[in-house]
């Protein structure tokens, strides 16, 4: 570690040479990927399942008159069944899209347009993904009224807030199942029950949840649900939307016209290989989810304990109790997130710091928790995945601890805190 102290120095400034990391990388292959909420590697079994649909089974699944089309269609229908089975739906209720962003758009705009006569009020939450928030913003321009529910300190919405927000004009509630930044799980079953009782449709963006935690559209009273392949070891560029057919039958206005594919809900030639991949990813999740959840929770807790046991002033963002098993989001006081990422540049994770975003805005999700901008700037999101090992977790934890300590030596805030100065009381130049 650094040999310099922050006491009075009589003279002679020297460069603090960075010692190469003291953490051994003997048991790991660098760089390590631990950003599985951003995307996941394609499982080799998924890739294998997809390949024939690029080579000899290349037909258009809408070609009804020859074997090339029928073969492709078979692949698609098998995938449809696999996805439906994973989430407790029927195959006819699965619509294929280009990904969860499109699914969110189709769900929200599709319901809004179709149910306009019934009402124009939509309820969502402040911590939703931009695919939901920006879609709602657009609908506000078209005259819809949107309520953005706040979240509590643990990241969960207050069901009483939701109850109070529903009125006679409400046509849709859209609340995500699991948050992409903090991994927090919303009370989807309770939300679904409430919506069902009040006759309001319930959409959930389940991008981060499907394949990681059990989702059952019947038990949870979900009417519409967005699914993404590349968050669950499938390929990018393909997703699905669950659209309920019974009790009630949900109708959506299409947002893409041209040919009437997917029962008129989403025109366009199907991405057959991608869909086959999504199907296989779901089949694997169906088989392996229980053990995988346990294993990943174990790794996540190991990472958390190994970091938090060796550093002071570190804080977990969001509820630990209602959380994806593979996610942890930690703020390291007095250390800025991008500089931390730079110090662990052989590890792929992400940060809620403004410095890491193109717009220089800190994470709005952390802001919504009431975390405070300074700690938002100091946050790191870890997303552990199927292909991470225990050795990788240990390496990551050790490198994080080492780098945080180094950066705290460089930090004026750490120095002031150690001197007993209450940072909240300081009049900062930039305020």
């Amino acid at each position: 570690m650094s040999t310099m102290t922050s006491d009075v120095v009589a003279g002679g400034g020297t460069a603090v040479a960075q010692k190469p990391s003291e953490v051994s990388s003997a048991n790991v292959t660098l760089p390590i990927y631990m950003d599985n909420h951003a995307t996941t590697p394609v499982d080799p079994r998924v890739l294998e399942e997809m390949l024939p649909y690029f080579t000899d089974r290349f037909g258009n699944s809408a070609s009804r008159n020859h074997s090339f089309g029928w073969t492709a269609e078979q692949g698609v229908e098998q995938a449809r069944e696999r996805i439906a089975r994973l989430v407790g739906a029927t195959p006819k209720e699965i619509v294929f899209t280009s990904g969860a962003t499109e699914s969110d758009n189709l769900a929200i705009k599709g319901v809004a347009e179709m149910y306009r006569e019934k009402g124009n009020h939509i309820i969502t939450a402040v911590t939703e993904h931009k695919a939901v928030l920006d879609t709602c913003k657009r609908l506000e321009k078209y005259g819809y009224r949107v309520t953005y529910l706040p979240v509590q300190k643990d990241g969960l919405i207050d069901l009483d807030d939701l109850k109070r927000a529903v009125d006679e004009k409400t046509i849709l509630v859209t609340i995500m199942a699991a948050n992409n930044e903090i991994g927090v799980l919303q009370p989807v079953a309770e939300i679904g029950k409430l919506c069902h009782e009040r006759g309001v449709l319930f959409h959930t963006d389940a991008t981060q949840a499907v394949g990681k935690v059990p989702i059952d559209v019947q038990k949870m009273n979900i009417d519409v649900m967005s699914i993404s392949a590349h968050k669950m070891y499938g390929p990018k560029g393909v997703g699905a939307l669950y659209v309920r057919r019974k009790n009630p039958r949900v109708q959506l206005a299409a947002i893409i016209d041209g040919g009437g594919h997917e029962r008129g809900m989403r025109s366009g030639t199907l991405n057959v290989p991608g869909i086959v991949g999504l199907g296989k990813a779901c089949a694997i999740a169906q088989e392996e989810m229980p053990q995988e959840m346990k294993r990943l929770a174990g790794l996540r807790d190991r990472l958390k304990d190994r970091i938090m046991g060796r550093l002071d002033e570190v804080f977990i963002n969001g509820s630990m109790e209602h959380r994806l098993p593979n996610n942890i989001n930690i703020s390291f006081a007095y250390v800025e997130g991008e500089s931390l990422l730079m110090g662990i540049n052989d590890i792929a994770v992400s940060s809620g710091s403004a410095c890491t975003s193109a717009t220089l805005e800190p994470s709005y999700v952390l802001k919504a928790l009431g975390t405070g901008d300074e700690l938002a700037h100091s946050s790191i999101r870890f997303g552990i995945g199927r292909f991470n090992t225990e050795a990788e977790v240990d390496y990551v934890a050790d490198r994080v601890v080492e780098t945080v300590n180094r950066l705290r030596e460089l930090s004026p805030l750490y120095e002031m805190a150690k001197e007993g100065i209450d940072l909240a009381s300081v009049k900062w130049a930039a305020e």
Binding site: S2, M4, T5, S6, D7, V8, V9, G11, G13, T14, A15, V16, A17, Q18, Y334, V335, E336, G337, E338, S339, M342, G343, S353, A354, C355, A358, L360, P362, G372, D373, E374, H377, E409, L410, S411, P412, L413, Y414, E415, L423, W428, A429, A430, E431
Partner: protein, 138 residues
């Protein structure tokens, strides 16, 4: 976004990290930025009262790699200059030296502010010492 080699170098081998004695009459301290913005720089200079040459400079920064590099570079550049010469350091010089992309230009602005704040603090101290009657605290 790939970092320039110079930014990486300053990040891995920051120059002049540390602190000077804030209460010393020879030391000027500049503290700029705010934690909510994700950038706080503390830059200190020790100035020779006769020659007005900055003999020593130290920094500490809470901020991204570009912010750390900008303030590290600032301490390198002010050393050996007189305070007036140091005032001529422009943030654009820092941007050029470190090849900062547009989104990181504000880091260089903060470093320039830190230099000015440190010099302003030192000058204020000199004025205060000059105007004090010659009863001293031991």
């Amino acid at each position: 976004m790939a970092y320039s080699d110079k930014v990486i170098d300053h990040y891995n081998n920051p120059r002049n990290v540390g602190s000077l004695d804030k209460s010393s009459p020879e030391v000027g301290t500049g503290l700029v930025g705010a934690p909510e913005c994700g950038d706080v720089m503390k830059l200190q200079i020790k100035v020779n009262r006769e020659t007005q040459v900055i003999e020593e400079a130290k920094f500490k920064t809470f901020g991204c790699g570009s912010a750390i590099a900008s303030s590290s570079l600032a301490t390198e550049w002010v050393k050996g200059k007189t305070v007036d010469e140091a005032l001529s350091i422009k943030n654009t010089d820092i941007v050029r030296e470190l090849s900062l992309p547009p989104v990181k230009i504000h880091c260089s602005v903060l470093a320039e502010d830190a230099i000015r704040a440190a010099i302003r603090d030192w000058k204020t101290k000199q004025e205060q010492t000059a105007s004090k009657p010659v009863e001293t605290k031991a």
